[in-house]
Structure formats: structure tokens, C-alpha cells
Symmetry: C2
């Protein structure tokens, strides 16, 4: 069960985290909340040392020629540190899911059946540049009674180490067991070990690009929750209001291009009369358009789109544009290219909205609203540990209840079959 | 997405099932219920041809020297066929989970958030001898809006083929799409293909012994729900009532030895005065006892137990017995050897019960009741597709809601961030 031969890089940390998970399992909510508050305060107090470590990571990334969209994910400033600290404080206000009775009943034979939420145990998280994940993950795992084994990217290792030092010191001072959260080395091999740590790690959550997620899915013997890849579409129906369409499309594309819930492809019904205006607004906002022939006829400077455009999560100020004959063609396009994250429709027709929401198979369907709303914070779940794009366990933003399992407790008085 | 190159054995069936899943996704409950009733009637009407096929499978298994416990799993009679037909009828009475709003709220900014249950899509099930799984799986998948890709054992292939013919004909006549359920060839290679059918199969559920489950976990690129391996313990506390202890231990061990929720190990507190009587009752019932020194002192004819006994799911009239110093030692033993299926305590002390239920990490904890109650039917969920021993998605009996995923539908009026 707890065999760490074959895990030279992560074995010792995994044993510490597993031991901590047994303490966390039964820790009172008060203790967890006090620790979250102490951790938030410590992050703000020690912002300078965090930013110093982060500046070194950012400088090294730029020197390596890292694209600016990725550097943006890596970069912290005092406001972002205050933001992650505030996310920890928001967790205090959220209910503790552990011990919740999900369902309960008295069976016909008198047996009392209760399904009770329990922590998952040890949660492994593999993530790329964004160091805020270090804090969000530690906080969400703690509040849900789980211990966390974090494997961040090499590019953020200095920042993550600084953050971990602050969290661990503040958390342990507030009564948490040592090892409630651990940072693994950023070697490529440490991912492989994590994916093979059956019996030590209860679930692995990868947060990152397609190649990371594919590797985790292919190699992992530990159960996985897939997250994050977002090739999101906005479909503008013939019944759409022009102003709503323009607002939703621009916001979905341009509000923050480097995140998974930004839109990558615009699908427009051929009867939409305001396509030229819509494309001009995108171009004015600085979006580089890749389109089919109809889109190229509607606006100058649209470059031809290929299958690669339909299949790419740009994470940049690029957008693919296709004009479709009808809503079913939009659904076919989405079925072919969607990653199952977020799909949006702008429409006034109730029939079109119903057809779209029934026909799309995704974690979230947005109706007359920006794709950017698919987010644990926006949904009111507090900080999220990722957005699940798989169908098992949890789909969409992963908040506290999604980080728990359950046990059936069945009480009798000598019942036999 | 629907690439079937590399899937020569299952590709064509998988495409049919995937196409059917798109129809099943939006099928009204009435149509599904009518089909379930028709399938149940057809099974009863055509019992003779099913039993003829089954008799051939049973004869072949016996000729191969298959152990009787396994032959018992394979064997059908008119009563068992009527039983699986009745399980289909019970599904009609259960609520359809598809379309249920799991949660819903209006966010502060006016967005309307709904989390709605949707089918998983295509469910792959790999199972061993028991042919009743063929019917249970088809029925549960249908009621929950899923299409089913079944891979039964070679030993039951004749029986499964006969059952499938009945189900498919009755189902299609009642309005289901062709391919709502398909039986895959029983080759070893068909399992490998199923485990690699990402994009065609949404989840694989293995039902069977440890080696099958380990293979599935190791090889699968499709998400897995682990089921079934049950090395279940009964702990008899010092505070236990002697009659309840005897009833629960005997029922847990002897009611049906070939199933995953039967008990394999008895742990007894050293202060229990009635250990000799308890072991005599087990021996009188025909149980072969494997014990530690203290157990061997309490009853003649107990053979010495080794680590292999603690770790074995006997599935036979054998039981391992260990005398423990206290409840924490029982918890340590369970943590070391449990498969996370079902653990039971017999006790009158509320403190002991609380300590046991908090300390055991399993799908089900039974208090003063037989381990045999961990069962979807006993829990009132209707037929079950298996008992999950993993922590993700669903733990314990897998009923209808456990065969669904969800989609967040978020409705605004031009909302942007």
C-alpha cells in the first residue's frame, strides 16, 4: 500500500503527505479555517519575498524566449498576491463539505443508511506556469480535508518554493500537521512517479496544456480528473441581438486571452446581417481573424482558416471564424472540434437556445453570456482547483464538494440477509 | 474523435453504440420505461432458449475444471432469469436521473446557473462469469440514457449472446435505436481495444477479480470506475452482544460465499468472552478457519493463518481469524489489508462505533449488520452495475445517478466580465 520503492524523487514527500492526510481527515472545521486565515495573512505580510522570487522566475522565462501569454500566467504582483490571499479568506466563509450527509434514509428492514462526505485523502496536482495554483490548491485541499502533493512547473519553481514556505510555516503554526502540503521537484521524472503512486495518491489533477493532459491520461495508474483544455466556441444565431452578440463575442475573446475559458472560434449563422460590423469590432480590438470564405468576404484582412485553426486553443489575440448554414451545422462543428469545456450561444429564439443546450456535450453551456464566466469564483464556489473537462466525478469548476468522496454508513441491530 | 483504426474487433460495434448514445441522450423516460418492460417480458417468455445456452456454458465450464464457486456465478435457472427480469421492471419504478437539476441559483450579477444531469454517453463494461450483469448493465445504462458496450467472459459467451438477442429484439421493437447495447467478442484483445477507445467510450467499468481490475487500471486510457474486489472484515468489539455477533458473522461469511460483499476475515477483541462459541458456530456451519495463535487456542482445528490469508478474497467457505488487543489494532489491520469495499463492526459501545466508522476508509461501513447488505438492491437503488471501490465519481453501489454526468447551463442577457 505504502511502498515507495521506485519513487526516489517523491516517495519521502508522499509518505509525509499521506500521514498528514490521516490527521486532516478528522480535523475540525475551526482549525482548518484558522489556518486558512493565518496563511492568507502570511502571504500578504511576506509579499516582498514572494515577488522577489517571482521576478527571478519571470526574468528567466523572458530570457528563455517564453511567449508573453505564458509569462503573464507566471507573473505575480502585489495585487495578484493579495488576490490569492483573498481567495483563501473566501474559503473560510464556505461550508466545510466533510461530514455532510449527502443522502440518508431508513430502509424497509429498519437499517439506517447514510451517505457521508469524506475527504479524498491525498490529491496530486500537476500544473504549469501559474503560481496562484499553488495557493488555491493548498487552500481548497485543506478546507476539504485533503493533503496536497503539488508538482508545479520548472519555470515557476522559485515562486512556488517561496509560496510553499509561507503556507507551510503559517499552517503548521496554526495547528496543521507537517506535510499537509508538499511541493515536488520540477523534474520530468517526478510526474511519472506521481502517476504511479497508487496507494499513496488518491487522485491526480493535471492543469495545463494538451500535451501534459495527454501524458497524464496515457501514463497514470492513479485516477485522474482531466482539466483545462478549452477550445471554446461562440455561436451567433440568426435570432441574436446585435449588441449582445458584439458584447459577448468581444468579451469571450479579448477579456483575458491566456486562459482556458476564452473563446477561440466564432460560428455565425449565415442570416446574421451584422457579421461585417462584428468582425470589424473584433479587428478594432486587435484580434487577428482566420476565416472561411464567407467570413473573408465580410471583412478585409481575414486570413484563410484551415483545420488547424478549428482545432487550436490559440491562447492569443487570434480567432477563427466560420459562417454556418444553420444551427445543426454549428453543433456538428462543435462536436468535431470541442474539447468539452465551454460553448456559448447568442440567440433570442427559445427554440434555438433549447436545441443548442440539448445538443452540446460540454462542461458548461453559456446562453447570452461570455464564455469567461465558466469559473469557480464566478459560479460562487470560491477558488477552484481547475475546470474538469471529463464526464466522471466532476465536470466544470472543481470546488470543495468535488474534492470529496463518500462513505455509506449503515447501522442495524443485528440485521442479516 | 471517432477514429476506429486500431480497433478491428470492436470498432464497428463502438460506432453503432456511439450513434445510439446520441439518440438515447434525449429519449423520453416513457420510451425507456416501455422498452424495459418489454425486455423483462421477453426474458421470461424466452427463458428456455436462455437456459439452453446457459446449460452449454455451464457444462463446458465444469469440463474445464472450473471451481464450483465460479460455476455458481455462471449458472442460470428459471428463478434467476425471472430475477433479472424483475430487476428490469424495478428500474421502471425508479426516477429517471437525466434532466434532474442537481443545483441551481441566481448569481449576484443576475446570471442563472443550473447544474443538470446528462447521460455519460457510452459505458463500457468488462465482466466475468455472471451473465445477470448483461441484463442489469443493459437496463441500468438504458434508464440512465447511456448506450452500453459489454465485454463478458468467454465462459458465458453463449449465455450472453442469447440474452443480448432477446434484449436487442425487444428493445428495438419498443422504439430504442439499434446499437443501444452491443456484446463484444470475448477475445483477450477486445479488452485492450475497449481500454484504448478514447472518444468512443466515456467510461469503462470492470467487474471481476483483482487481476482483471489491475489490468484495466494499468492499461486504460478511458476513465475507469474500479469495482468489486472485496476483502471484507468483521470486527467484533469487546462491547458486542454475543447473539448479534454470531448472527452477523455467520451471515457475512456464509450467506453467499462467491460474492464480493461476503466477509473474509474476522477480527475479535481479546476481551470478547464468547470467541470459542463463535468459532464453533462457524465451524459447525462448515467454515474452514485460518487463525492466529489466540484463535487456535480458542477452537480446535483452526489452521495457522499467514499474510496470504489476511490478503486473500477467498470467495469460499474459508475465513481468517485474528484476535486483536484493541480497536486501533483492528483499524490498523483493516488499513493494511482492506480493499476499501465493506467493513463491519459489531459493538454496543457508541464510542467504539464512532471510532470505527471515522477510522475506516471504505465504500461502506456496516454497524451491527451483515456485510452482505452492501448492495444496490438492498440500498434501494434498484439493480446495480457494480460496487465501486474507488473514491472518484462514485463509491459503493453504482445505481442510476452514478451513471450520469452533469452540464452547467448558464443563462444571461448579454453578461460580460
Amino acid at each position: 500500500m505504502s511502498d515507495i520503492s521506485g519513487l526516489p524523487l517523491i516517495g519521502a514527500a508522499a509518505l509525509r503527505v499521506k500521514a498528514a492526510s490521516r490527521v486532516l481527515r478528522t480535523l475540525p472545521t475551526d482549525t482548518k479555517d484558522a489556518a486558512l486565515t493565518a496563511m492568507a495573512e502570511a502571504l500578504v505580510e511576506r509579499t516582498d519575498e514572494i515577488l522577489t522570487a517571482n521576478a527571478a522566475d519571470v526574468a528567466a522565462a523572458r530570457a528563455d524566449g517564453t511567449p508573453e501569454a505564458i509569462v503573464d500566467r507566471l507573473r505575480l504582483d502585489a495585487g495578484r498576491v493579495a488576490g490569492v490571499a483573498e481567495a483563501l479568506r473566501q474559503l473560510v466563509a464556505l461550508p466545510d463539505p466533510v461530514g455532510d450527509v449527502v443522502r440518508g434514509s431508513r430502509l424497509a428492514n429498519g437499517l439506517e443508511l447514510k451517505q457521508v462526505r469524506v475527504p479524498l485523502g491525498v490529491v496530486g496536482i500537476i500544473y504549469e506556469a501559474r503560481p496562484n495554483v499553488t495557493v488555491d490548491a493548498a487552500g481548497l485541499c485543506l478546507k476539504s480535508g485533503n493533503a496536497a502533493l503539488l508538482r508545479g512547473s520548472a519555470s515557476a519553481f522559485g515562486t512556488n518554493t517561496a509560496l510553499l514556505a509561507v503556507l507551510a510555516e503559517a499552517g503548521e503554526k496554526a495547528g496543521l500537521p507537517a506535510g499537509f502540503v508538499e511541493l515536488l521537484p520540477a523534474d520530468r521524472a517526478s510526474v511519472g512517479e506521481l502517476l504511479n503512486a497508487r496507494g499513496l495518491v488518491d487522485v491526480v489533477i493535471p492543469r495545463g496544456g494538451a500535451s501534459l493532459i495527454q501524458r497524464v491520461v496515457r501514463e497514470s495508474r492513479v485516477p485522474v480528473i482531466e482539466t483545462g483544455e478549452g477550445n471554446c466556441h461562440v455561436y451567433v444565431d440568426a435570432s441574436a441581438d446585435p449588441e449582445i452578440a458584439e458584447a459577448v463575442v468581444l468579451n469571450s475573446k479579448t477579456h483575458r486571452v491566456s486562459v482556458c475559458n476564452s473563446a477561440e472560434t466564432l460560428l455565425v449563422h449565415r442570416d446574421v446581417p451584422f457579421l461585417p460590423r462584428l468582425l470589424a469590432a473584433l479587428a478594432d480590438a486587435g484580434v487577428a481573424l482566420h476565416g472561411d470564405d464567407a467570413a473573408r468576404s465580410a471583412h478585409d484582412g481575414v486570413v484563410p482558416a484551415t483545420d488547424e485553426d478549428w482545432g487550436t486553443e490559440y491562447l492569443s489575440m487570434d480567432m477563427a471564424v466560420r459562417v454556418v448554414d444553420d444551427l445543426p451545422q454549428a453543433l456538428d462543428h462543435i462536436a468535431r472540434w470541442s474539447t468539452g469545456h465551454t460553448e456559448a450561444i447568442v440567440a433570442d429564439s427559445a427554440r434555438a437556445i433549447a436545441e443548442f443546450t440539448a445538443g452540446v456535450d460540454a462542461a458548461a453551456v453559456l446562453v447570452n453570456a461570455s464564455t469567461r464566466f465558466t469559473d469557480g469564483g464566478e459560479f460562487g464556489f470560491g477558488a477552484e482547483i481547475g475546470i474538469s473537462t471529463q464526464k466522471l466525478h466532476a465536470r466544470g469548476p472543481l470546488g470543495l464538494p468535488e474534492l470529496t468522496s463518500t462513505t455509506y454508513v449503515v447501522t442495524g441491530s443485528g440485521h442479516t440477509r
